[in-house]
Amino acid sequence: MPETQPPGLAGPSLPRLCGIFLVIGAVAFGGLGATVRLLQRELAEKRGWLKPADIGEAMAFTKPLPGSTGVQIVTFLGWRLARWPGALLATAAYLLPSLALMTAAAAGFAALPDAPWVQGAVTGVLVAVVGLLATAIWRLARSEAGTPILCGVLAAAMAAGFFVNAVFVVVAAGLFGIALQRIRARAPHD
């Protein structure tokens, strides 16, 4: 059953929050790629704890900060769901599976064998992430880039992203938005 929270009130219980972020962290292959889609699905579409716009906002305000954006989106949304306890628990739960796996691998306990089936599984996951990321982008674009100008910003950012650091692209877009607002506010008086 989808549970909806009245806005502004406490979100899901912390143990449930941990459980969901553990699962997301365990299958979030391709870092940001699968993570965005999993967050959309598990937190917004399925449970209604967050609005789709929250995920766009999390990306907008964490991308300019240093650090892994996937983790920071989790922290940001965890904060929104249950303030600092939510932020810290969601982040810890999200990171635990990959950190445990990585530590075990480095210690030689879980060395990835070079067997063909392992390579096959990695390829399979890569293919899945391409599909999931494509739907994630499509959904985000439909909900967050509703005007022609925002669509233009989206396309321009993608083109620029191949040549310029992501931080500059996001900050420049934000500043452009503010400038545009100022110009429009002034226009009728001129």
Binding site: G31, M59, G67, A106, V127, A134, I137
Partner: protein, 174 residues
């Protein structure tokens, strides 16, 4: 150990543009400057960090394990994510407090559109290796996208894709 923590605190604080952008810095700090890892070990670590779920910077756990065992892995991991996580939490908190400020909302709307566009760059970086391997695999990606659209859980789709990939590779060559 203290050096390990300090160095990874710096990596976290300087990783502008995401974890992948910080890999050259990690290499300099752990291979060239300290000799904690050899070049080959570093390459294995990077490979693992892409193959495991979660962010690329779990590489810190790999380095930490080599330097100081499980305690080292835990310390390096905490260090590398400390600054970014604190910043993200404060960003969420500040945004909540200043939600009514108009220009902040405007910045957010345009920055969000740009961040979504940048996901397109990420998508292309995933498509490239698939194309290099076998362009027909993109049909598989299309099937996944369609199934996702029809409501199949992404968790199930990722697990299924891993199983199919493993199964296909285990079959005798055809």
């Amino acid at each position: 150990m203290i050096e390990l923590v300090l160095r990874f605190l710096i990596v976290g604080a300087l990783a502008f543009g995401g974890g992948g952008a910080a890999l050259p810095l990690v290499e300099r700090l752990t291979v060239q400057e300290t000799g904690w890892l050899t070049h080959d070990q570093f390459a294995v670590g990077v490979g693992l960090s892409y193959a495991t779920p979660g962010p690329v910077l779990v590489l810190a756990a790999f380095v930490g394990q080599h330097v100081g065992g499980v305690a080292g892995a835990a310390a390096a991991s905490l260090a590398v994510f400390a600054v970014p996580v604190a910043l993200a939490g404060f960003a969420a908190q500040l945004l909540e407090r200043f939600r009514s400020v108009a220009w902040l909302g405007q910045f957010g709307r345009f920055a969000a559109a740009a961040a979504i566009g940048l996901l397109g760059v990420t998508l292309v970086s995933f498509i490239r290796p698939v194309l290099a391997l076998e362009p027909l695999l993109l049909l598989g990606a299309a099937v996944v996208a369609l199934a996702d659209w029809r409501g199949v859980s992404p968790v199930v789709l990722i697990a299924a894709a891993a199983c199919i990939g493993a199964g296909a590779a285990a079959l005798p060559t055809w």
